[in-house]
Structure formats: structure tokens, C-alpha cells
């Protein structure tokens, strides 16, 4: 067994973890965040929302099932760096086409292994997400620390342009075509159009800088605001676009970053969470049904609604906005963070978490049905809107 080259991880507050080079040899910087999922590393790595972040996996064994041609959520690996404890030496799975480490090396992803990831996670939990550097070329902690402190912060980062598609593309509906949706790509995951397609929706994926005319030109029945990386406080363009959509009463659905954009369009603020929600075991309460769903999360920012302090339960009441009443439809049971918004007077709703899963449980898949119902209701001749509460096919397979 050939020994790995030594590597070092340094946090901006100076805490240092020794380890060994994993993936590509080199140096990288980003925001250190931890993900607690026990499965789905391939989906995590290829999720554009992790752009500029160094992901710490709390699951100790990573790479066990190798990589395959089906589980990517975008065209490349986005994480800025990867921190694991015990990388697999071989991948073993009937679908595997290669090893994770080879893929990381090929795509130039600098990682570190052999790290006490639990100690690192506890540190981030206590001190909050912060900048980090990993190096397998210069393992002097002081010189690396100096460079970590020069790296850009996540607060104030406008990253949509870096992750969005260069050209519009279309994902066709499966089976009978029912609706057309224009999706603003702020870092979309492949499984979103796939889940829509399964409901007869054709999705036009458009670049982040698209105008309302670009959206309307697709003939869309509805608009989707995608997940994505960066500080929602900088997303003035998409926020303005969302306001245009709301003004036109075009059905709107948003996920994650898209939810923060709706929040801002409605006049709410956003704020950075201490260490974010990143995992696939987060309990979210759907206030319409009183049911709990176990969901996939990946967000470092959240929507600030009036009347909700940090950690306090958000009141379940209609909040007045420029676009009429809005309810907080979903909350995270772990910390009462706002996880979903539903407009009462305009056809719009969003969730802060990931109903498209990949990775993660499929409990929230019904939200795509709600979206379809919302579109259907908006298009009904008498103009009646569905309240989007029913979810007859809950628990449907995502596979």
C-alpha cells in the first residue's frame, strides 16, 4: 500500500487538522461546511450549491460505491474541496463505472483524508461556518492560514453567474405533455426537471441573467426558481424577476436559493445561519397537514420573516406583504428555521429544502404535485386556484 502524501487543513480561526492528500494534490480555499448524509456523496459533489464550499463529510467512509454515470446532479463536481476520514480503496456497486478518487483527481478537486471529521464538525458547530484552506503542497499551518484569511467570504458572494447554464436547454415531459415551466438556473440540479417531467412538465432551463421576456418567450405556464450557491442578499436580478412574475400572477415555485429569492421579492430579509443545514435527515413540519417529512437540506442562509427571532417558533399566521398575504408553510423542527413560504393571494410557493432529494429521502416529492396543481388551478377557466394542499401521491417513488 503506497502511503499518501501529507496534507493539512487550516480554518480561518487557526485550528489545524493534519491529514493526507485525497483526490488532486494542490491547494484550495472555500467556506468549510459539514454534510451529515450517510449516502449520496456523488450527488453532493456535483450539486452546484456547494460551489466555493469545502465539504466535510461526517460519514467516515466515502467512495464505497464508486461513481456511476447516472447520479451526477450537474455536469461536474462543484465543491471547492473535500474532507473525509476514510476514503474507500475500491468502489463496489453494480452500477459503478469508476472510483471516486480518480474522478476527484481528474476534475482537479483537492481533498484531504484521515481527518478527525467529527472534531472538525464539532468545531464548525460551535464556531460557525468559516473559511478554510486545504493544502498538500505547503503544509506549514501559518503560511496556509495567511492565505485562508485572504480568501473571499461567503457573505456577499454572488455566484449565480458562475454556475448557471451558458445556453438555454429543454427537458421534455415524460408521457403526455401537460405544462411548460421556465426554470431560472441559479445552480439547478438535474433531478428537478426530472421530477417535473414525470408529471408531464416540459422544463425550459434558462441562464441566470434571463429577463421576464426570455421567460415568457418559452410559453411557460409557470416559473421555477432553482437552488444555487451564494448569498441571496446579492441576488438582486433574480429578485426583481420574481417580482415581475408575482405581479403577473404567473404560478411560481422555488427551491432553496429560489425560496430565498421569493422571500426577498415579498419584502423579507435573509440571514446567514450559524452552520447551516446540510444533510438528508432534517425533519420539516408541513403546517397545512401537520405531518413531518424527513428531507434533504443544503442551505447556509434562510428567510427572515417578521415576528420570528432566532430559534423562536414562527407564528402560523398570514403575514401581509406587497403581494398580499403570505404564510410560513413549513418549518424545520430542529431549530424552527423557515423552510417554506406560501402566498395566499398570488400563485406562489417555495421551500427552503430539497423535494427533488438526490441525495435524500423522497418524503417531500408531493411538492411537485402541488406545483402541478397550482399550475392547473391557475389555468382553470374560472380562475380558481388550488390551495396546493392536497398531495394524493405522497410517498411516490423518485427512482
Amino acid at each position: 500500500m503506497t502511503r499518501r502524501r501529507s496534507a493539512i487543513l487550516v480554518l480561518e480561526d487557526g485550528r489545524t487538522f493534519p491529514g493526507e492528500a485525497y483526490g488532486s494534490v494542490g491547494e484550495t480555499f472555500g467556506e468549510a461546511v459539514f454534510n451529515t448524509g450517510m449516502t449520496g456523496y456523488q450527488e453532493t459533489l456535483t450539486d452546484p450549491s456547494y460551489h466555493r464550499q469545502v465539504v466535510v463529510q461526517t460519514a467516515p467512509h466515502i467512495g464505497n460505491t464508486g461513481v456511476n454515470g447516472e447520479d451526477d446532479e450537474s455536469g461536474r463536481i462543484w465543491v471547492a474541496g473535500y474532507v473525509v476520514r476514510d476514503p474507500a480503496r475500491i468502489g463496489s456497486n453494480w452500477r459503478a463505472t469508476g472510483s471516486l478518487e480518480d474522478r476527484l483527481a481528474t476534475e482537479g478537486v483537492v481533498g484531504i483524508s484521515g481527518v478527525d471529521t467529527r472534531a472538525l464538525t464539532r468545531h464548525l458547530r460551535e464556531r460557525g461556518a468559516m473559511r478554510v484552506g486545504i493544502s498538500s503542497v505547503d503544509t506549514d499551518p501559518q503560511s496556509l492560514l495567511a492565505r485562508v484569511r485572504q480568501a473571499p467570504q461567503m457573505v456577499g458572494a454572488d455566484l449565480s453567474a458562475e454556475v448557471t447554464t451558458a445556453q438555454p436547454y429543454v427537458v421534455e415531459a415524460l408521457g403526455e405533455h401537460r405544462f411548460t415551466v421556465a426554470a431560472l438556473d441559479l445552480g439547478i440540479k438535474r433531478n428537478v426537471p426530472r421530477r417535473l417531467a414525470a408529471r408531464g412538465v416540459t422544463t425550459h432551463v434558462l441562464p441566470a441573467g434571463s429577463s421576464i421576456d426570455d421567460l415568457l418567450a418559452t410559453g411557460a405556464d409557470a416559473v421555477f426558481f432553482s437552488p444555487g450557491p451564494g448569498d441571496p442578499g446579492t441576488a438582486d436580478g433574480p429578485v426583481a424577476l420574481a417580482r415581475e412574475v408575482l405581479t403577473r400572477r404567473i404560478p411560481l415555485f422555488g427551491i432553496c436559493f429560489g425560496s430565498q429569492i421569493l422571500g426577498r421579492a415579498l419584502g423579507f430579509g435573509t440571514y446567514k445561519l450559524g452552520y447551516g443545514h446540510r444533510g438528508i435527515n432534517q425533519p420539516v413540519l408541513d403546517r397545512a397537514t401537520g405531518k413531518v417529512e424527513v428531507t434533504s437540506h443544503n442551505h447556509g442562509f434562510a428567510v427572515q420573516v417578521p415576528g420570528a427571532g432566532s430559534g423562536a417558533v414562527v407564528p402560523d399566521q398570514v403575514i401581509d406583504t406587497e403581494f398580499g398575504g403570505v404564510r410560513v408553510s413549513h418549518v424545520c423542527l430542529n431549530d424552527n428555521v423557515v423552510e417554506g413560504l406560501r402566498a395566499v393571494d398570488v400563485p406562489a410557493f417555495t421551500v427552503q429544502y430539497h423535494p427533488e432529494a438526490a441525495a435524500g429521502p423522497h418524503d417531500a416529492d408531493y411538492l411537485f404535485d402541488r406545483f402541478a396543481e397550482l399550475i392547473e388551478g391557475a389555468g382553470a377557466p374560472d380562475g380558481q386556484q388550488s390551495d396546493g394542499r392536497t398531495h394524493s401521491s405522497r410517498g411516490r417513488s423518485n427512482a
Binding site: 500500500m1 487538522f17 459539514f34 451529515t36 448524509g37 450517510m38 449516502t39 449520496g40 456523488q42 450527488e43 461526517t58 460519514a59 467516515p60 467512509h61 464505497n64 460505491t65 456511476n68 447516472e70 447520479d71 476520514r85 476514510d86 474507500a88 480503496r89 475500491i90 468502489g91 463496489s92 456497486n93 453494480w94 452500477r95 478527525d116 471529521t117 467529527r118 472534531a119 464538525t121 464539532r122 458547530r125 444533510g279 438528508i280 435527515n281 432534517q282 425533519p283 413540519l285 401537520g290 405531518k291 413531518v292 424527513v294 423542527l333 430542529n334 431549530d335 432529494a357 438526490a358 441525495a359 435524500g360 429521502p361 423522497h362 410517498g395 411516490r396 417513488s397 423518485n398 427512482a399
Partner: protein, 1115 residues
Amino acid sequence: MPKRTDLKHILVIGSGPIVIGQACEFDYSGTQACRVLRSEGIRVSLVNSNPATIMTDPEFADATYVEPITPEFVELVIAKERPDAILATLGGQTALNTAVALHEGGVLEKYGVELIGANIDAINRGEDRQLFKDIVAKAGVRLGVDDPTGLVPRSRVCHSMEEVEATVAELGLPVVIRPSFTMGGLGSGMAHTPEDLARIAGDGLSASPVHEVLIEESVLGWKEYELELMRDRHDNVVVVCSIENIDPMGVHTGDSVTVAPAMTLTDREYQRLRDLGIAVLREVGVDTGGCNIQFAVNPVDGRIVVIEMNPRVSRSSALASKATGFPIAKIAAKLAIGYTLDEIPNDITLKTPAAFEPTLDYVVVKIPRFAFEKFPGADPELTTTMKSVGEAMSLGRNFTEALNKAMRSMETKSAGFWTVPDPAGVTLADTLAALRIPHDGRLYTVERALRLGASIAEVAEASGGIDAWFLDQIVALIELRTEIVDAPVLDVDLLRRAKRAGLSDRQLAALRPELAAEDGVRTLRHRLDVRPVYKTVDTCAAEFEATTPYHYSSYDSETEVVPSDRPKVLILGSGPNRIGQGIEFDYSCVHAVQALRAAGYETVMVNCNPETVSTDYDTADRLYFEPLTFEDVLEAWHAEDSSGRAAGGPGVVGVVVQLGGQTPLGLAQRLKNAGVPVVGTSPESIHLAEERGAFGAVLARAGLRAPAHGMATSYDEAKAIADEIGYPVLVRPSYVLGGRGMEIVYDDPTLRDYIGRATDISPDHPVLVDRFLDDAIEIDVDALCDADGEVYIGGVMEHIEEAGIHSGDSSCALPPITLAGSHLAEVRRYTEAIARGVGVRGLLNVQYALKDDVLYVLEANPRASRTVPFVSKATAVPLAKAAARIALGASIAELRAEGLLPATGDGGTMPADAPIAVKEAVLPFKRFRTRAGKGIDSLLGPEMKSTGEVMGIDTNFGHAFAKSQSAAYGSLPTAGKIFVSVANRDKRGMIFPIKRLADLGFEIVATAGTAEVLRRHGIACEQIRKHYQAGEGDDAVSLILGGDVALVINTPQGSGASARSDGYEIRSAAVTADIPCITTVPGAAAAVMGIEARIRGDMQVRPLQDLHATLRAAQ
């Protein structure tokens, strides 16, 4: 959804005696349930016949019935208690089957009792094979799966051999056979040939209470997974844990090495299992609570089939609870009374709700513990019938660390890879051939094959499909081994890597002979400051702060042990259950925790058995889930002691070794030598009692008699002793538990044979040769002794079978039923003299034989014995609690003053009206088959074979004995045929009991010699030929197998080996037919009294709280 307000009184049904497939995990779950329900202000009644459980401690329920878990007795409890509801999903298959029977018998309806946690329809849908397949297909339709019928193996339910054969003609061999409604896969198996088919399906049809078996397409070699799920009444569902079996399909999951979380699934595949599991759970309609679903996944194309589900808390739930920190049973009890998951806080974080899915940042490995050495004829091949008697679990920050820890937790001869040399001359071809048959310790064989040069692909093929990822992890260990062997010196880097991979000092010592063994490695390691840190099991991979100090060791960078300045006591547990060391010891350890906590100590539990109450994270103040090896215990002690001292406290003030059985006791001297404060009876005193020469001197000084004896290290020495003291002699190795290797020898050739087989014999480990006292009454005493030499007799138990049957296997009565006052006074005098002579500080167990009015000391064990819980329940005195206090310095006088012990008197002089408690052992014979597929012999001897025990308690012996039999084996018959065949020496003693049975209306069938004697005494009997005698019609064996016999009485003819072979066919037929088989004269006499009590039909039930109040008042 808040809790229901209409449930004010709930009856919890336990799981009864420990048997293979149903062990102390149900004490753990039941104890949690009782605590939860009572804390909610609900009155709890409990039925459980197993006295060695914590749940049957009187403080855990309002009314505790130590009564048989049969519909008959549970109905008596219901009639007396009139509960609102029954909770039967936490007591294993026994509780569930009883609940179904009560429903079907109309009892629940009659008394207006609701079944909570699961409804009868859901139970039937989960347990009935065909219904279940339809359910899975429906769930598949609901999920939109392309081929819903492909979600289960192709199969058919059969009720006769004809149906079985027709089905196999369609499916082709091999097929799997699964009887309906049996526990732990009892009676199931894989048939490769028509002969296998005839045997397994035939047995299965008779093992199933509804005479039904499922014949199923083989998924042998597929990957096997389990999910543990929970559902509340608002239809919220969470997956608590995924478990992957390293052993592919074909080995019962209870017998498989398993890993949590699943290691070789992509998220897509895992989520498919999750979707399917949830859909099946909803379709089955489990109202609330836990359930377990098993899947097989085809490694070639990912096809998933659902194998089975248990609509209740299971063995896997206990494992999942310990593996994740999510207390399934506790939550299940809350859900049963109406709470929803989001209303229940997560115990560990306190701030987040239980409505979430635990995520692990460590790896858990469970390894089963087998006891094939106890059943020489039994086929050791692992199949779909569970055969293991216990398990150990371990946690590590990676797979190899957890695996190595689990392997050394087994307390087998091999303590991990390379600790025992390869068998001489073994080749790769032999090794690969051995891999083809699943066996105990197969991972050792896997490692050897890989080390001898086999490729991962070859081993995967030979082992029938072990996943390459696991094999590669073992290859990594082998590569590390090579590095360690080849390195010029074991430097800090290599040592650290070795420890991170989970290798023990002992394993390293085996690879580096120059390092002066394990002690040398440890010295080097400590000098290089390579020591473990302790991480926390927190359900959330550190996302939230944990408040529960549930720790495991790892060679990582940061420790999480919170310094505390309180005086700490470490209590060492007993490790994996095995025959001879089971739940009784865990019971004593838990009691020590309770008593020492109450006395102000910070209690720290160290154990590796996931089934137990002791390893519940809220039993002790702190839990270290660690192997009970010297190295692991020493490090845990060091972590607690040094952090305590750093906080300005006294650190660890005591380590309790005498309550966890032989395991911790065996560590006592080494721990003491390493500076660990071992409290209680000193290691030197332990040696005095266990070393035969020293103990002989103790007895001689006090003028106590013992059977003539000697010690031998060769056949010649042994023969010289036998010649001097006379045959029969009892031979055994020194320092054993459960009578391991103990035999009664009647002649020279057998003695020569025994010494030849005792390969471990050496001057350090001599063989003990004792005069065996034929036909003596055996007496067991549990006693306490404090530092002043004050002795408290806990209880005196009189065995029902004569001496020669291991005390763990014989039934006994307390108070003694035939001993005279003078005998009891003699027993007291002897016990006091031994306790003082040895220097006991805590518990002492002494075994005596009374022959011809003379008392002999057989052996003394200076530790908690297997009978401590039984005695404590029968006398209302918590002996283990007192022992723990004495170990930490309390005197018996102080404990009497405190009220922990009675103010006056003791268990040696019970009041005249004290109830009679009968302990009966439960034996696992019907689990095993010989290679030829025959039942194994059920004859009892000096080597212990029972897995568990029950208690029957009542005002007189007959009733108490009848209850013990009902609880252990199903009820004694009240009518029908009794088959009798007894040895010549027993014919005289059998006349009275058999005559009484005939008078009670039983038909007697006997073999020629027995029949002749019976007729001479006017007992009408039918004569039948022995199976080897030629003749027409039924012989004895076919009569029993035919199911026409209600009871077998058979005592072996002759002596020594010939006694063993005589009657074997008869006894194994009784095992196969599952009817009681009595093998001793006193056993027959006791059975007659029990049968009389049953025929009178005046059985009553009475809660332990009542019995104890009466006893306490009398004291």
C-alpha cells in the same frame, strides 16, 4: 396529537425465558416501556416468567406477575387486573403470539381490553407469508414500481408434503422453507436436494402452529439489508437505522456479521429500500411503533426483494437503538399511548424532536456468539435457522476498527486476526473450500484465504457473495500486517495507523514477538503517547450538542469525555451472552449501577452486549460501549480516572468485577497489577476460591468436608487419583464457567479419552478430578460477606435433580423443600466459614452435595452467581445491590440499618408460610440438528446447556412447579399417554410416581423391562418395543414422533458413554415432537406434583409486590 387520556392501565407482556432467537433485548425494550408508561402516570401491570430480567424488578411496574406467558395465565392476570389495554409489541414473538391467542380466544373482547401498538390484522398481515406477499405487491403498485410481483421471491404457501413437492417441481431446487408463526426462523432451512426438502419441510410443517410452510425461490448469495422503521398515529414514518449483513442471504440475520449503517448502497438504492419499507409498513397497517423489514438485493442488477417484516420491536431494534442512540422501545411505548414523533424530544440532544432519522459518523459491527461446543452432535453450518446464543457489538470510527473490536469482544480463543496461529499445514485450497460452508468465525477464514493469496474475486465467489468492499477492508488489514511485520521498528506513525485500523495490543504482539507480548506493546504505546480518545454516540453526527455520555473509543484526535470531580465507579459487564453467562449477570451489573448511583457515586458501565439493559445509555451515568478485554478496560479506566483527577476529583475510586460473571473476574488480577482499584473480593481471594489446592486448604482449616479429589496434568496422574478415591469421578478443567468441559467418568477408558481430548491441559491449567457423589441432593447458596466477616445468607436452593446435572440446568426450589433444620444450620456454618476463609467482600455462591446426611462442599464462586436474580425475586432482597455497596465499603450492619437488607434474619431461614419459588432451566435442543438432520440428545449432565430460566412462584411446590413447566415448555399434560422407559437402578424409584399418574387417568406405555416392573405393582400399561427391536406396528420412537404421547419419562441405562447413547433416539424424538421429556427420578416426582396441581385447576396469580410485602412483613 397529545397522548390518549383513556388509557389508564396497561398490561405489558414480556418475552419469557432467554432462548435462541429471543434474548435479553426484550428485557431492554420492556424495561424502557414500563418506565415510559409509568412516567406518564399510567398504571402498569406486567407478565413475564423470567426472574433474571430488570423489568420484573418490582419497582418497574405497579403489579409484576412472574407467571407463565401463556394465554391461560395471562387471562388470569387480565381478570384480576382489568387493564384498559395490552402492549404486546415489545415482548418478542412470545408476547405477540400470546396476544393473538387471547384475541382469538375472545379474551380481549370478554374483558374489553384493547391491543395497542399493533392490531391483529396488521400482525397477521406481517406474519402470514402469503398475505405479506400481496401486501408488498400492493405497496409496489402504490410506488409505481414496474414489476410489483418481482418485489418478493416467487413462492407458494403449502400445507402438506404433496403441495410442497408440486411447488418445487415448478420453482426448481434450491428452495427456502419457512414455517409460519415461528420465532427466530425456527424450522426454516434451505433444501438443495429432495432429501433435504422432505426433512426440512416435514419438520417445518410440524413446527408451525398452523401447519404451514412457505416454499420460496432462492435468493442465496444476494446482499442482505434491514431497515428499522417507526411510525406514529399521524402516519409520520422515520427510518432509524439501516443494517447491512456481511454474510449474504442464506445465513439468518441473527447469525450474520452485520454492519450499520449500510456500507455498499448508493443513495438511489438506499432510498428505494426506504420508499419500499415505508410503503410496506403503511400497507401492513402497523398502527404505531417500531418494525423491522429485511431486503435482499441482487448484487448483479440491483433487483430488490422484500424478505420479511416484523411488526414489533425485534432483536435488530435493540441493535439499532444501541447503534444509533435512538431508543426505539421507549419511543414505541410513547407512540402506543398516542404521542406523535414530533411531540417526543430526542433524548440525546434534548432540543430536537424524535421525528428525524439518526445519522452516524462511526461504524457499528455486530458479531454473533455461538455455543456449538456445548452440543457436540449439532451441525455447525449456519443456515436460515438462528443458532447463535448471543452477540457483541462494537463501534469504531471506521469499519476495521469496529470489526477488530467486535472480534475481540467475543471472548473466544481467537481474540482477533492472527492471535491464534493458522491450523498446521492448512492450504489455500482447504481455506477456500472451508469458506463455502457458512460457519462460526468465517471472517477468520476469509482473512486467511486473502492472506494466503486468494484474490478478492475468488473469496467473494467462495464465500457465496461477500461484498468486495468488505473484502478489500480485510485486504487493507493484511497489507498493514505486512508493514508491521516488516518494519525495522514499530514507530509512532505505524503504531498509530495500526491502532486506527483497530488492531489490539495483543494482535500487534502476535506480529512483533520481540515486544514482550501485549504488556510490551502497551508499554511502548504509552511511551509514544498513542492512546484512544472517546467519541460520543449522539444520533446526529455532531450537528447538535449531545447531553448523553455514551462513548466509544477511537484513535482519533479529540476526546469528548467531560471531566467530572465526582467519585466514579466502573462496573464491568459480562460481554456477549453465552451458555453459562447470560442475562443474570447483566441483571446484577444493572443493580450495582442503581445502588451505587443512589449512594452518590458516578457510575460508569463498560460492556459490549447490545441486547442488555446495562448498555442502555441512561442506565449508568456514563456508558463505554467497549470490548471487555484488559486493554480496552484499562484505557476506559484511564480516560475516566485521568479526566476525573484533572477536574480535581478523586477519579475512579473502584472497579467492580464480581457481578459480570467470569469475564470481568478473569481481568481482576491484571487490572489490580496495573494499578486499577479493583474493589470487592480481592483478586487474591478470588484465587483462593478458584485454585483447587488453595481452596482445599481453606476447607481443611475450617474442618469442612469436600468430596475426595486431586489435580492431574496427565492421564497417569488422573488414574492414580481415580484409583484412590474410586469411580465415578467428576473431571473438569480449572477456571471455567457453565461447567465447560465437565464430565462424569465411570471407568479408566473414559478417563483416558477425556484427558486425551483436554488439549489445553498444563501445569498452569490442570484437570480437577473429584469423587462424584451419586444420588446426592445438590444445594446452592448465595450469600453476602462484608469486610467484618459478617455473613448474610441470601437464599438456600434445593435442586430437584440429583447432583451431577449442572446447577444451571437443574430446576431448584427456594426455600428448600426437603432439607431439615439441621441441614440448613450446617449449610449456614459451612457458608460462613468459606466466606470468611476466602475473604469475600460481596457475593459468594457455594454449591453443596448432601449425601447420606453428610454435607460436602462442591465448589465456591466468589462472585455474583446465575441465581442472584432468582433469589432476589424469591426473597425480596436485592443481593447484587448489597454486594455492590459492600464492595465500596458498606457493612452488612449498615445496609440492614438503611433498609437495603432486612433488619433481622436472612434468606437462610425463610418464614414457614413463605411462597415456594421454583427455577426451571430452558434448553435449546430443538434449535439444533445433527448433520444427518436428526434431533440432538437432550440428556443433561455436568456441562451446562440451558440458555435461560423461568420462575414459578406459588404457595406450594406442586403449583409452583407446574407454573415453572408452563413457563418453560408449555404446560404439563393433564391427560393422555405417558411413555416410560427407565434404567434398572431407577425402576424402584419410579413406581410411585408412575402409579400416581396412572391413578390420575394417564395411559402408560412402557418398554418391556419397565412394563414388567410396573405390572407387578398393579399398574396397567401397554408394552411397546424399542426402536431397534424387530416387530410389527409402532415402536417407541415412531409412537413419540407420531404425536400420540403427551410426556416422556426416560432415564438412561448404564453409566458413562453407554448411558449417553441409551435412550438417545427416544429423547431426540421427544425434542423433535416438542413434548416434555423427563430424564431423572426426582424430576418425575416433581412433574407428578405439578400435574396434580394442574388437574385440580385452582391456579392463581399473584403480583410480586404482594408476595414481597408479605415476606418483608415476616422479616
